[in-house]
Symmetry: C3
Subunit: 461 residues, 3 copies
């Protein structure tokens, strides 16, 4: 069996003719892995270490010298040492003067220190040109070559030339350097590998809150109410029936919440008469996590589809249908076809299918490799036009679901309306306001404002 091409392609030692020596301070895991990779890519490598005796783990073709000796041999020095030990560099300040120091360190917590490790390094060795890089790459991935996660290396630094040298090295290793600007960016770059889906936190917390609320709401209406009044044990509804009530409700609410901030923004811009004032902070943050909100909504919609399609296989449903039929047969009566009912049931299902289909299309378009291949006009067409169509279809699906009993008083239990009715509040609001905003008397000034026109130009001072 052939191995993965990307990690096999032979990389030869000793063949480089022009590459400059790179020095690595520290012979730990990451230092060694980086050394290996550099040698494979044709760079002569010198390790700077306290103990200069070569261990079997250090790449064969690398020299191991004292820190001072090693530093003198190279223009680029990679500091593969933990921040706590940086102060050993202070006595070397003179040798390091003018050298490019590459800080590759990470912290254990977000914002662990007041300043970033790279800035701290720059303070310790003021004469050196500090560049932050490589901290997002894993030692294991470097060695094994299975760079499944990011090949991107964020690079920042105050000296353009030093940064360029480091970026060339990154590129020579087969990785993708991304210039992030000056050393001020180091804090963000150091926090990056510690993040765990920061943009997903708000949608997730919101979903959890809504799930908890609607779970107890449905539990009361669908399990406790029949237990109290009819003494029936429907506790097994928790597994599927109630879940399949929560999922579509959350999908619809979250989808509406994707389009709500846009409506707010339009109202604010209309009210202010200019687009040149910043939105309130909460609105800005909300707008930035719309994609995540939409994807969580899509996840709930997908679950809803699966839970719905599984209905006819449920043993409870089979039992209910067969006992209905048996009682019909015993009572010797055949029901005629209720055409209205057939219409309602079929159009309810058709609306749901079309809504879900468009929703999945939206999801596919938000894949990075797809959205990179469309222009802005196409992106906006999909995310705005198709998005609103999806919202309309899903809202209609929910309304027709209620069918004849929609808003009928008999569906109240303990004065609580059906859960799906609560889920309609936000989507209907969004759709009504959006509908109003489409009217030319509002749409025209809004378009002009968005093209840069200002009602009271003094605002822009």
């Amino acid at each position: 069996m052939n191995k993965n091409s990307s990690n096999i392609m032979a990389l030869a030692p000793n063949t480089s003719k022009k590459r400059e020596t790179v020095c690595i301070f520290g012979t730990g895991d990451f230092g060694r892995a980086l050394g290996h990779k550099l040698i494979q890519s044709g760079y002569p490598v010198v390790f700077g270490s306290r103990s200069t005796q070569t261990s079997s783990l250090i790449p064969k073709d690398a020299e191991v010298l004292s820190h001072a000796e090693a530093a003198q041999k190279a223009a680029i020095i990679i500091i593969a040492i933990q921040r706590q030990h940086y102060n050993f560099l202070t006595p070397l300040a003179e040798i390091l003067h003018g050298k490019v120091l590459v800080d590759i360190s990470n912290n254990l917590k977000i914002n662990q220190y007041p300043e970033s490790n790279a800035e701290y390094l720059a303070q310790l060795v003021p004469g050196a040109k500090v560049v932050k890089a490589f901290n997002t790459v894993s030692a294991w991935a470097l060695q094994s070559g299975t760079l499944d996660a990011s090949r991107q290396v964020f690079v920042c630094g105050d000296d353009m030339e030093a940064k360029q040298m480091v970026m060339d090295t990154v590129r020579a290793l087969g990785l993708t350097p991304l210039d992030q600007g000056s050393l001020l960016a180091a804090q963000e770059i150091e926090n990056y590998p510690l993040q765990l889906f920061p943009m997903w936190k708000f949608p997730m917390l919101l979903s959890l809150g809504l799930i908890a609320f609607f779970f107890f709401y449905c539990l009361i209406r669908d399990v406790i109410y029949p237990y109290v009044y009819e003494n029936k044990d429907y506790s097994f509804f928790i597994a599927i029936s109630i879940t399949n009530r929560i999922c579509p409700i959350l999908a619809l609410i979250l989808l509406a919440l994707v389009y709500l901030p846009g409506v707010f923004a339009a109202i604010i811009q209309l009210y202010r008469g200019t687009k040149y004032r910043r939105f309130p902070d909460w609105l800005d943050k909300w707008m930035l996590c719309r994609k995540q909100l939409g994807l969580v909504a899509l996840a709930f919609a997908s679950l809803h589809v699966l839970y719905t399609l599984v209905i006819p296989i449920r043993s409870f449903v089979r039992w209910r249908i067969s006992s209905q039929i048996v009682s019909q047969a015993l009572n010797n009566k055949t029901e005629p076809l209720d055409t209205t009912n057939a219409w309602l049931s079929d159009s309810y299902l058709a609306l749901g299918i079309l809504g879900f289909f468009l929703f999945v299309l939206l999801g596919i378009t938000s894949l990075p490799s797809v959205s990179n291949n469309v222009n802005w006009r196409e992106f906006r067409f999909v995310q705005s036009k198709l998005g609103y169509l999806t919202l309309v279809l899903c809202t209609a699906h929910t309304m027709v679901y209620g069918g004849k009993w929609f808003l009928s008083p008999s569906s109240y239990r303990w004065y609580l309306p059906s859960a799906y009715m609560l889920s309609l509040i936000i989507p209907c609001t969004v759709l009504v306001v959006k509908f109003v905003l489409i009217f030319p008397c509002l749409d025209k000034p809004l378009t002009r404002i968005r093209q840069g026109w200002e009602r009271n130009p003094q605002y822009s001072e």
Copy 2:
């Protein structure tokens, strides 16, 4: 909550040591956004404007000068002005001589002017080196940093050196420059952001036509016919039954149309005995939109799957089944299991599932990020071998669907055969011709022709 890393990474002003001043003509939305971004990336920025008084909207660190003064300070001048006002540049021709003028303008319509804006600019200022760039980037995206859509910047220009300078600037802003050749490409580049899925137009129009045809066809057979002869109101069939008849038909026809041009091409090459003559234009165009045809077919197939899985939940289907059972019970009769029927029903479903599964695989492989990771042999294996297997499975699925009644005269209504039978015409033709082409007596010469062999070499003159 942390914000999106890509738009947060601090970018420092005033830290650049080597970057050259960039001049921007025009202080409109896009000019300011680009200026901001340039300053963040370490470029000194000078605005050239009619009124040199600084507005609060212009980035703080930028100077605002008259056009002439600003132009003298920089080698690169970005023209952030609409085409109608370009003529103000004529008096500046002397100052602009030898400068790199970057045309970033867009039009409102495709091919609005006889020549592209960039070429017009080059005519107005003959001494300058005009480069087209940045027109596909949105001002809003530049400012907010949420480059969800393309980071690609198409660049073209006649002067290699000027183009290289602009491409370096693009890269420094974190965007991806794509060299599109000489200034002749400007027209295409200016049309690009105005396009709305141009490659999808033909598949979409074709689908709409086919939908309309098959909708009325099915309406006549399934709703009007029973209404006329049996006086039954099946109008609710429109919502699901008829849709679920149209979707699979379109999926099958469109899938066959993906492979039909390949068959045509093979026949033409065999007939001509050479591969060095161009195909007719319609065939070329058809071959270029095969991917889109296939994806539209996949969309219809997915809808068909959803519509089919929803069948047992439909209230009409439940009513029909329960009335059948009740009548059985009342008649005191139990039907035995019809094994042939079970075989037909099960193999029909199994063929459909396998066909759909392979179809989805084909769809996944056509995602840009997946197809970029396979070599040509693998790509051709999936798109050709697996593609034909999909077509075979789906055609067989449709044939077995007919089951015992396939081609039986009783299924004709008003002399109209079932709609699914019409859908089999093209796929069967494609499969039969392809089957013939596989025979060695045709496959061998075809392979040789495709490797460059010519039957009558004089053709190639």
Copy 3:
């Protein structure tokens, strides 16, 4: 209709001011296609050919000269000739001295020759700088511009400067060069376009073996056994029932096999007390194809979902249900709701849905464009935490499926347990061992070992 932007963007001849002449030896298909593309990108092109008479197929703007004359005009010479004819280059050795020879050849079989074509070329013309490139690009794709498959061009060579020149040319053609190191890599690069999903071979063969085993196992239990003892013909079970038994079994076993090597690795590391010794070769290979194993498992899980959702539409199932109901009606008896059964059925379905949902999430995260946008912590969180959760849910799903009859002796036929019970062996083993490994007494030393600690440091010699 507008054509695909990528292959239309006009590329102008004669406008280059700085590009250096490129020479191409050989006027075959690929040579001409490359010549065309080079001219479009502004390179002057000279063809070296035995017969210097221009054919209509050769790009107009290219010169055709004898090999010796052509070679003298350019620094880069592309050898678009088959390996068998390389020896004609020997007499030209003097002229080719110091030139960059680009070997673009491919073989017909993997490892066809003892040394790669590029190394053979380097031996023939020792004074030239040989660079391997372009062999992964198809002539047809170059001409038509529809680079659906890879735009990546693997480049390798011993001379840094020569390699850099070739990589710049590759970039100018709009392709992505990937430096693969020295000429030793040429063998791998030449094998690459001949590969057909090498990483998928093991998962595929394993699946086929398991499918065969479980097919006959189920055939014996579900078709032959009832035929022998009850004389019933259930042969139609092959189409759906048995397939739908094999699919979930394979999905579960393959998913468990994704996590088994990790468990092995942990045990080996704990036993050895160090992470610095290589794993056995089979474990290394196994770990490298975990992604493929997981995706094959996901494919089987998806098929299982489709086969399951289709159950209520099967004519056999409809017959069975209706005959049950009819016999109930005839016997005048209504069964009460069995709550335990309802619980088991519903939670079995709910576990399956959630497991499948997480499984699909894992699949989406393994798409290259998605995994490139997450950091290592996020990637590990998804692939490890969510992966184990998926395995737990799917295993529980299978156990609850057995329900009350799980491990009951009545479910044995010819002493063979139900097939699903066999499928539980590996997942349960993995989960139990993983559960043991989570205990602090094992987890703590393991974590330390993975951070570089060694129990017996002498091992690392």
